[in-house]
Symmetry: C2
């Protein structure tokens, strides 16, 4: 329905009928308009954005990708007033997100345009670490004092409610702005107007700390099923609120990052199509080159067994099969454990129990693949007369090597995420391909060692 509208919007822009454009856009949600703008030609997008009323422009602006945001701000620069309006109208959390990608000097210039109150907020929120809850916080909430009456509170809510992100939950703070409790607006509405706010306090407060990692916020929102949570600093002073929509975005973005890292590249940090081609290549080339250098050790390992290969070329035929099985089982174990760690199903101290399960899994999977591999050699030998006179010993070599390699791959894959996390690193970082590379090299050693043992005196 909405996509069909794009040509109409483009026509209106082309014909410079901005009044009608404005009217058409008035019926759409900010999320729809931002999606439309991402599809339009850059100049058309900027013109459309300028045609919106300033508070609405701010809401749409917050949802755009960083490069359109920058282009828009640049296009506004000659018009200092309009720029100031936009920056002041942005929600504090969206403003923080926009500022984060900018050079220090530009941020300073923008901060100087803000009015004193917004500037103070912006500086405070920017002070929290990247990926911390503080960076998600917005200061547009309603706060009451415990000694106010319900009637006073209602007057305050009516006065400041419009600017607040939500009036469903109201916060109670003391005179030092330390958070005391939160209250549902319905409890205030249904209360006796003479009662004090203190009497309504239920003291079942759940809070986030501004320094907490954003992933922790996702876990807490899931555990407590809240739509909004207050953020406090180490002194219990209220910093702001975090709403579920930001948390949903964080959950999706964290998952995207983890998936991209698991696939062996850096996190792109921007939508695929919006990522410039050179960035796309840079983010992938680094890890690919590191893995390649790691994988070079396979050539070294193979070099050690060159005489064995020359004696029994047939051994080389199964090299890709054996080592890739180790790699696959390692990636499998690594991804399962990494995700379990990310969503908190498994904790660092569970590593010992996990290893117990993975050793049994690795043995079972190794036996299954070993049996298939053994059968493959036997069937081809009997049916096509391949692999020479020692086919049975070759089959045994392949089978035993597979058990060893798959068990080793599974253990390495399960253990590496714990080691990375224990070292304070992100377990997702390139783990699956890294495990595959590690297991390729060591798998060769296992394979040729088994071969040397089983085939000694016959093929070797």
């Amino acid at each position: 329905m909405f996509e069909e509208l794009q040509p109409e919007i483009e026509d209106l822009i082309e014909q410079r009928r901005f009044h009608q454009l404005k009217e058409t856009l008035a019926t759409f949600e900010p999320g729809e308009i931002s999606e439309l703008l991402e599809q339009l030609e850059r100049d058309d997008a900027l013109l459309t954005l300028r045609s919106l009323p300033s508070d609405r422009a701010a809401t749409v602006f917050a949802r755009l990708s960083h490069d359109i945001q920058l282009a828009f701000v640049e296009s506004l620069s000659p018009d200092g007033e309009r720029l100031a309006e936009l920056l002041n109208d942005l929600n504090p959390d969206d403003r923080t997100a926009f500022f984060v990608g900018l050079p220090e000097t530009v941020v300073q210039r923008f901060l100087s345009i803000l009015n004193p109150k917004e500037r103070q907020n912006a500086i405070r929120l920017l002070g929290y670490p990247e990926d911390s809850v503080g960076r998600l916080a917005t200061t547009d909430y309603i706060a009451l004092r415990p000694d106010w009456s319900v009637e006073q509170a209602l007057r305050h809510i009516r006065r400041f409610g419009a600017k607040s992100e939500t009036i469903n939950v109201i916060y109670v703070v003391d005179k030092n702005w330390r958070l005391q409790d939160d209250i549902h607006v319905r409890d205030i509405l249904l209360a006796d107007p003479e009662a004090t706010i203190r009497e309504l306090m239920a003291h079942r407060l759940v809070t986030l700390n501004a320094d907490d990692d954003q992933e922790k916020a996702v876990a807490i929102f899931r555990e407590y099923d809240r739509a909004i949570l207050p953020v406090i600093d180490d002194n219990g002073v209220m910093v702001g609120i975090v709403t579920f929509d930001d948390v949903l975005d964080v959950a999706e973005e964290e998952a995207t990052e983890d998936i991209q890292k698991l696939g062996g590249s850096e996190a792109l940090d921007s939508p695929y199509m919006a990522t410039p081609l050179h960035t796309l290549i840079e983010k992938r080339a680094g890890w690919l080159a590191i893995l390649f250098v790691g994988e070079m050790f396979t050539a070294t390992a193979m070099g050690y067994f060159e005489t064995e290969i020359a004696k029994a070329v047939v051994l080389s035929l199964f090299v890709p099969l054996v080592i890739s099985s180790g790699g696959n089982s390692g990636s499998q174990a690594a991804t399962i454990i990494i995700r379990a760690l990310a969503v908190g199903e498994v904790r660092l101290r569970d590593w010992w129990r996990v290893m117990g399960r993975e050793v049994i899994s690795g043995l079972a999977l190794g036996f299954i693949l070993g049996l298939i591999g053994f059968t493959r050699v036997i069937v081809w030998a009997l049916a096509f007369g391949m692999y020479g006179e020692h086919w049975l010993l070759l089959g045994i070599t392949i089978g035993l090597a597979l058990i060893g390699v798959v068990l080793w791959g599974t253990m390495a894959g399960a253990l590496l995420p714990f080691i990375l996390k224990g070292l304070g690193l992100d377990p997702a970082t390139s783990s699956a391909p890294f495990v595959a590379t590690l297991v390729d090299v060591t798998g060769l050693v296992i394979y040729f060692s088994v071969a040397a043992f089983v085939l000694s005196g016959t093929l070797l």
Copy 2:
């Protein structure tokens, strides 16, 4: 803080001090209690759950893993009244989720225990497909008629508000229960008591269809920043509401499934530690065996080049290095594209533009790895006198083969997700390891073809 309490709770259970247990638990959130129960011994968990008041037991029950739910229901079975109370107290969406995993006969028995209204709801919600929005819907919402006055509406809200999941958003339906609009409770509260509900309607309704995929619900919640959305059927009749907390769970679970599939196993469908060992092995063995059978073609491919390998054993040394580079670049491209498709950054019709970007990326990455590989051969040859007299030609072979293999891996990795999605399959299904396997086999052919071309007349 909360974890330290576990020993205390265990003591209270051991000493059968249920009254004190009840009092202690009263101060905790359902999410905290369910987490505690998952840690406790099974029998202790069931006793603790029984000690909770029945409506609270239902809330905690909804958050437990399926096997504890089943054990609890079985333990209640002799006490028909308590079981009926639990099933009737469950939120409709949580009840649907519980029923879904049960055998048909058991569901029938449970349905017969429900009171008529809840039974009708339960049957209707169970009728929607698995992973559809209908399965997430709850019927605990407040509906008004457009011709009611604000005063009538407020009376209705006060009367039924307690049982509703939310009173923040109220729904307006006609006499056939077709959804007309939604209204924020604050708009009703601030309106003239004499006004009609129709006058408050803003007609900016965003709805979900009960048959929609749950992933679509996540996208719509993100686009519109709503905490609650109404669900309608094909006739516009209101089915229920979906709340952000269920959507956050869906987002996390979908990401977990995608990650597990990308890692080359089936989705586990339950937390790692709660998955029985035999299930864990079964879910992994299937894909591992399929990939293994696919990888067997490497042995066949290598077999075709056995004479080349026998003539130039040195070629075999680089087999793992060359084919794993193709596999790594293929996994990288596949994971990036799969995630972009999953979150809607890229659509099926974009495949042509994506391929354009990936061909350039693949060439660039291939040149980088080709150059490193070429350098590796040259340096080892000059420094250690390895690889015989034709080391320069060998270096050229490795370099060219890497360009071809990486380009091919990247293209295959980027294209496969589009093909799977075009066929109506889940692009995440084992794509990364599947691409790696495909590229291993074809990479061998590319490698030995390049070798035959470059080394013909010298080594071969």
